[in-house]
């Protein structure tokens, strides 16, 4: 039972969605604009900025760095998050709320504090800055996210299935491989993809911890200062937005694969 139509509210919601989406739309729009001035009226259609982007070797270096950092940190975060989610969904134990809070903290505190904390420890230990500390920061930052996604997925997991497998003669490892893993695989992939997106887009940790290797957001940040270089960042931004949206939609779809209708959910409970 739901309320009937409310036209005023509906119009407001449409306006709000405009507020949410229109600003992002300007990036693709301007990326096809001729010339380097990002202002209306548009100067005419052109793909010159995309060609410009294609011919930036530094951009591709940064892209590979970002993909490397994203894959490694999200893979690690998904694994840590899976074990943690298993503990939270399967057992009741002392210090449960405290552990949950502790794992969530890196995501909840202001990011700059995490960034300088890692910077200070890294510099004082005397290790060179670069992709490694960035990866550690991203694992810290992505694990809470992946964990929330996996807990939502694993709350409905029937522990009897694991027991049934044990009962039918499989040990702990084969039970994981033949039962838990295939059933939870869509959720694990979703967690991995979303973790990857977070790491891929992350700027602040990367800015503080970067050595000579740039990630893509750092590269873009560097280009923003030069008006001439800006348009190809727009083109890059447009590509990133489209690609991210596709990956996120795939992840959303995977999150609900095989879930009964009433359990489908995209919300996060923190």
């Amino acid at each position: 039972m739901k309320l009937n139509e409310n036209r005023t509210l509906y119009i407001y919601v449409l306006i709000y969605f405009g507020f949410l989406y229109i600003p992002v739309m300007f990036l693709p729009i301007f990326s096809f604009n001729q010339g380097i001035h990002m202002a209306f009226p548009l100067q005419g259609f052109s793909t010159e900025h995309y060609e410009d982007m294609w011919n930036s070797p530094k951009l591709f270096d940064a892209l590979w760095n970002s993909i490397y950092v994203g894959v490694v940190s999200s893979l690690m975060a998904t694994m840590l998050a899976f074990f943690a989610a298993k503990a939270f969904t399967k057992y009741k134990f002392r210090g449960q709320a405290l552990s949950y809070g502790a794992i969530l903290t890196p995501f909840l505190i202001p990011e700059i504090i995490l960034a300088i904390a890692l910077l200070v420890i890294w510099v004082s230990v005397g290790l060179p800055l670069g992709l490694t500390p960035i990866i550690i920061g991203h694992v810290l930052f992505c694990t809470p996210f992946c964990m929330i996604i996996l807990i939502a997925r694993m709350e409905g997991f029937d522990n009897n299935l694991e027991e049934a497998s044990r009962d039918l003669g499989e040990g702990v490892f084969m039970t994981f491989w033949r039962v838990s893993f295939p059933i939870l695989l869509p959720g694990l992939i979703a967690a991995f993809l979303l973790g990857f997106i977070i790491s891929f887009d992350e700027f602040l940790l990367a800015m503080f911890l970067q050595g000579s290797d740039q990630t893509l957001p750092i590269y873009m940040w560097g280009q923003l200062r030069f008006a001439r270089r800006l348009p190809h960042v727009l083109a890059l931004g447009a590509v990133i937005i489209v690609a991210t949206s596709l990956v996120v939609m795939l992840a959303y779809w995977l999150r609900n694969v095989g879930q009964p209708q009433e359990k489908q959910d995209l919300t996060f409970k923190i």
């Binding site: 029937d158 497998s165 009962d167 039918l168 003669g169 040990g171 033949r178 059933i183 095989g258």
Partner: protein, 361 residues
């Protein structure tokens, strides 16, 4: 050997301060259909999970077919389980579900196929090989769970309230089918249920549990007619409890004074001591015969007034007030007599052999 096929010795399982299973010992015979019966929280499921290996005992030992399995992990035990929710793997089809536990048996393709077909025909689900769990009804899932366990040819099949999720008609059918199946395969069944009529109709023997302890182990007939304590008497079927006190005894018989009814000499099956005020007699409703006029059958004949009646189709329960009694007696009769309406006088007759003398707890 076969008498003590499963031997449970002083088993306990505690959760914090809760004694789910408290120092329980008994044995189960080979090929027996054995039920664990009790209200929810009585420890019957924990006991079953101890047999399966999902719980580890705080103390005690379990032997199956002469082997100490107390600390053996579930995958190595010669037991298989039918779970309450059936736990059919949702990501693989029926055939793969049934074959799941056969990986280590290293059978040839043909042999495996034969075994699958054998159990599928046993549970009457030939042709369902390609279905998935979500394409099966509750009853079908239950059969698949059975087939998946039976293909392993376990020494013991453990069933955790497998009929609980089915509707009444299907449940009745499955009771008969399970019983027939057990006779056909000859495997020892340990069946957990909270439904007393289910356990009585299916089992060779029943263990009634309460608060982590076994109250009585006997065949269904004895359980019903010779309950050993108030809990069993009350849990199995319906009964009338009347306070009583014992007088002198001549060994086999004992004088019992039943409140407001009288003093009689009845069999003392449980060796209740003499001159004990803390006793109770239990009389089943169907042991009380009602008639509109005084009859000379029966050891005790009383006059009463029908206060109320409930019609259940095959049976009618009458609530009869006997002069001076605290509570009305429940008497059930198969025939619905037009004269037995509320307010009418009637006569009750009871035989001594239907009176069970029990100790108050």
């Amino acid at each position: 050997m076969s008498e003590n096929f499963i031997d449970i010795r002083n088993i306990s399982r505690h959760f914090g301060t809760v004694k789910a299973v408290d120092d329980v010992s008994f044995s189960i015979k080979q090929g027996e259909f054995f039920s664990l019966l009790g209200p929810s929280g009585c420890g019957k499921t924990t006991l079953l999970r101890l047999l399966a290996g999902f719980e580890s005992a705080n103390q005690g030992e379990i032997f199956i077919d002469g082997v100490d399995v107390t600390t053996m992990p579930p995958n190595l035990r010669p037991t298989n389980m039918v779970f309450q929710n059936y736990a059919i793997f949702p990501h693989i089809n029926v055939k793969k579900n049934i074959e799941f536990g056969m990986r280590k048996e290293k059978l040839s393709k043909q042999e495996l196929e034969n075994r699958v077909q054998e159990v599928l025909s046993l549970v009457k689900l030939e042709g369902y090989e390609e279905r998935f769990s979500n394409q099966l009804s509750g009853g079908q899932r239950q059969r698949i769970a059975l087939a998946r366990a039976l293909i392993k040819r376990p020494k013991v099949l453990l069933l955790d309230e497998p009929l609980g999720a089915l509707d009444k008609k299907l449940r009745d059918e499955m009771q008969i089918e399970l019983r027939n199946l057990q006779k056909a395969v000859g495997i020892t069944f340990v069946f957990v249920t909270h439904d007393q009529s289910e356990s009585i109709s299916m089992s060779d023997r029943v263990a009634v549990m309460n608060e982590g302890q076994i109250q009585q182990i006997s065949d269904p007939h004895d359980l019903y007619y010779n309950p050993q304590n108030i809990f069993v008497s009350d849990f199995i079927g319906t009964t009338n409890f009347l306070s009583s006190s014992t007088g002198s005894s001549n060994g086999e018989n004992i004088m019992v004074k039943i409140d407001q009814i009288g003093e009689f000499s009845i069999k003392n099956k449980l060796n209740i001591p003499e001159n004990d005020n803390e006793t109770v007699v239990s009389i089943r409703p169907e042991a009380i015969v009602l008639s509109p006029s005084p009859i000379d059958k029966g050891d005790i004949v009383m006059e009463g007034t029908i206060e109320n009646s409930s019609y259940y189709g095959e049976l009618t329960s009458f609530y009869v007030r006997v002069q001076g009694a605290e509570n009305p007696l429940i008497a059930s009769s198969q025939r619905f007599d037009n004269n037995s309406f509320e307010g009418n006088k009637c006569y009750l007759s009871i035989n001594f052999e239907d009176i069970n003398l029990l100790k108050k707890e």
